[in-house]
């Protein structure tokens, strides 16, 4: 099961490698709890997920994952300052409405934040726009009229937001369907994971 999760979600492996065993983790938009379950099974991580979707809540509970039903856009008021080693937002940033506020909440609640998101600057996306269309791909599988993604960004955009919010980037992992990307990541990477913390 673990390998299939990692195959389906390569950003999970990138995220997991940053998390030492025994850490406490809050996974925002945790879906069916796969990442938390993976982290629990491989790293004895103690964690909670936050999810809004009813069916996913029920699945998390079936998976034995602690899950709190809440809308991320209403903030993380239930969680205390610096109460988790890591706050994770995997492939959800682009669908949040109050993205800037949420970024601040992540570094308030977590000693470190980890975010993965689809890179809108990926060359195939750029090509589709060049050809006159909004990008549709495996990472961005929606049409412009039915997409939940309201805040898409490129790697450069994300890094600018971090700078703007006084957030220090501690690590970056850029991937595409062939593996890790080191050359021109904002062009050749379709998914990126960042590790960051609030400037002291």
């Amino acid at each position: 099961m673990n390998t299939s999760i990692i195959e389906a979600r390569p950003d999970f492996a990138a995220i997991a490698q940053w998390i030492p065993p025994g850490s406490s983790v809050l996974d925002l938009g945790c879906g069916d709890g796969s990442l938390l379950r993976y982290l629990r099974e491989t790293r004895e991580v103690r964690g909670y997920g936050v999810e809004i979707n009813d069916k996913k809540i029920a699945t998390c509970i079936a998976n034995g994952v602690n899950v709190i039903q809440n809308d991320l856009d209403s903030g993380l008021a239930d969680f205390e300052d610096q109460s988790f080693d890591f706050v994770i937002l995997s492939q959800t940033l682009q669908a949040t409405r109050h993205t800037e506020a949420l970024m601040k909440e992540i570094v308030r609640v977590g000693r470190e934040g980890i975010i993965s998101f689809p890179n809108f600057g990926y060359w195939k996306n750029r090509l589709q726009i060049f050809n006159g269309h909004m990008p549709v791909s495996k990472q961005l599988p929606y049409q412009w009229y039915d997409t939940p993604n309201v805040h898409l960004c490129t790697l450069k955009d994300f890094e600018l937001l971090c700078e703007h919010l006084g957030i220090r980037i501690l690590g970056r992992h850029v991937m595409n369907e062939h593996g890790d990307v080191n050359l021109l990541p904002n062009l050749f990477g379709n998914v990126a994971a960042y590790r960051f913390k609030r400037e002291a």
Binding site: R46, D54, I57, Q69, D78, F79
Partner: protein
């Protein structure tokens, strides 16, 4: 497939050891009626205690051989293949002390006086109930419950268990409940109590000797309660502005359908429920506040809790709103307890916790399946 636990029968346990109540009074002996469903496993680890709310009792599931229509109040939740699965769990329902369904209460005969306790019955708190329930568990040989489950006032008991007896409960399922009542809730309870207390037939609680029942007060209390257990939308959907005769009669008889419904519910309730029990139950609700000894800090009140928690609220429940459940969740998070929280979208108000709902039942079922898997 899911089914009924079938024909059940109530049992009675007598406790000769005096019970000291929070109010200072003592009952030298008392009885509790209870029912059980399913089979207790060899190491007695698969038991679930179901705590009842204001008007509940020990008849939680199944029906009686001599009264097939008398189906338990949570029969949709409990049974073979149901979320509280009696193929896996040994489920106990009891009537709380002070109740009017067979356990020692205000209408029981006080052996000292030979008359009903009436106004002499001790004011009972959630903590008192939990102590009395622990003695029932002792009697049944249950050291630790797999889960304690309750909605509303029942949820308060489940939470109190985890505070008072942290090593005796593995899981708490706290449904449509709150860490303490809001001011508005206490106010509603006080209006209900006043309806009873000011009924001329109440006789200061000793109406039994007068051969009367404060029916009017009890009826009004129930009508008020009923309104608050529903939601505006649910009432509008069910009755709207419907008129029984289709036109205004310009009088005070029943005209609107909702009046008919409320009066019927009030009459039905007043015919079987004890007025003193109603008063006691509402006071137990008002008094419940595990943070009263920790400077109103719920997280500190929960510091010794070991149980894993499932907290469930309902979107249209304005008496025990989702925000109140979140307070419970927050206190548990502070203590790094395992907790899951589900907010069920439902239009039935506080009564939602007794209704069948796909998402609600999926959450309960999935959680309890894990509880069953993790039994020692």
């Amino acid at each position: 497939m899911s089914g009924s636990v079938g024909i059940v029968s109530a049992q009675r346990a007598t406790f000769e050891e005096p019970l000291h109540f929070s109010c200072g009074k003592v009952l030298p002996r008392y009885e509790l009626v209870y029912e059980t469903y399913g089979t207790l496993n060899a190491d007695k680890s698969n038991s679930i205690l179901v705590c009842h709310a204001l008007s509940g009792h020990h008849h939680v599931a199944g029906s009686y051989a001599d009264d097939a229509k008398n189906i338990g109040w949570w029969d949709n939740m409990i049974g073979p293949g149901k979320p509280i699965d009696t193929n896996k769990f040994f489920v106990i329902g009891l009537n709380n002390l002070g109740g009017c369904h067979g356990s020692t209460g205000p209408s029981s005969i006080d052996p000292v006086t030979g008359k009903p306790y009436g106004s002499d019955f001790p004011m009972v708190t959630v903590e008192d109930w939990v102590h009395s329930q622990a003695r029932l568990a002792d009697l049944l040989g249950i050291q630790r419950f797999a889960a304690i489950i309750g909605g509303s006032l029942g949820g308060m008991q489940a939470m109190q268990w985890a505070v008072t007896y942290p090593d005796r409960v593995r899981n708490v399922l706290a449904i449509a409940t709150a860490p303490h009542l809001t001011t508005e809730n206490i106010a509603f309870n006080d209006v209900a109590r006043n309806a009873i207390l000011t009924d001329p037939d109440f006789h200061g609680g000793d109406f039994y000797q007068h051969g009367v029942i404060p029916t009017r007060g009890l009826r009004l209390a129930r009508m008020l309660g009923h309104i608050t257990y529903l939601s505006d939308d649910a009432m509008a959907g069910k009755f709207g502005r419907g008129l029984r005769s289709g036109e205004y009669k310009y009088g005070y008889d029943i005209e609107f359908e909702v009046e008919s419904y409320l009066r019927y519910q009030g009459d039905k309730f007043a015919a079987y429920f004890d007025a003193n029990t109603y008063l006691l139950m509402t006071k137990a609700l008002d008094y419940f506040d595990p943070a009263q000894h920790t400077e109103h800090n719920l997280a500190r009140a929960f510091a010794n809790v070991q149980a894993n928690y499932l907290v469930v609220s309902f979107s249209s429940d304005w008496r025990f709103s989702p925000d109140r459940s979140r307070e419970i969740v927050k206190a548990l998070l502070h203590n790094k307890r395992n907790v899951s929280y589900a907010e069920i979208t439902s239009q039935h108000g506080h009564d939602s916790f007794l209704m069948q709902d796909e998402q609600y039942f999926a959450v309960m079922r999935n959680y309890l399946e894990r509880v069953a898997e993790e039994l020692p």
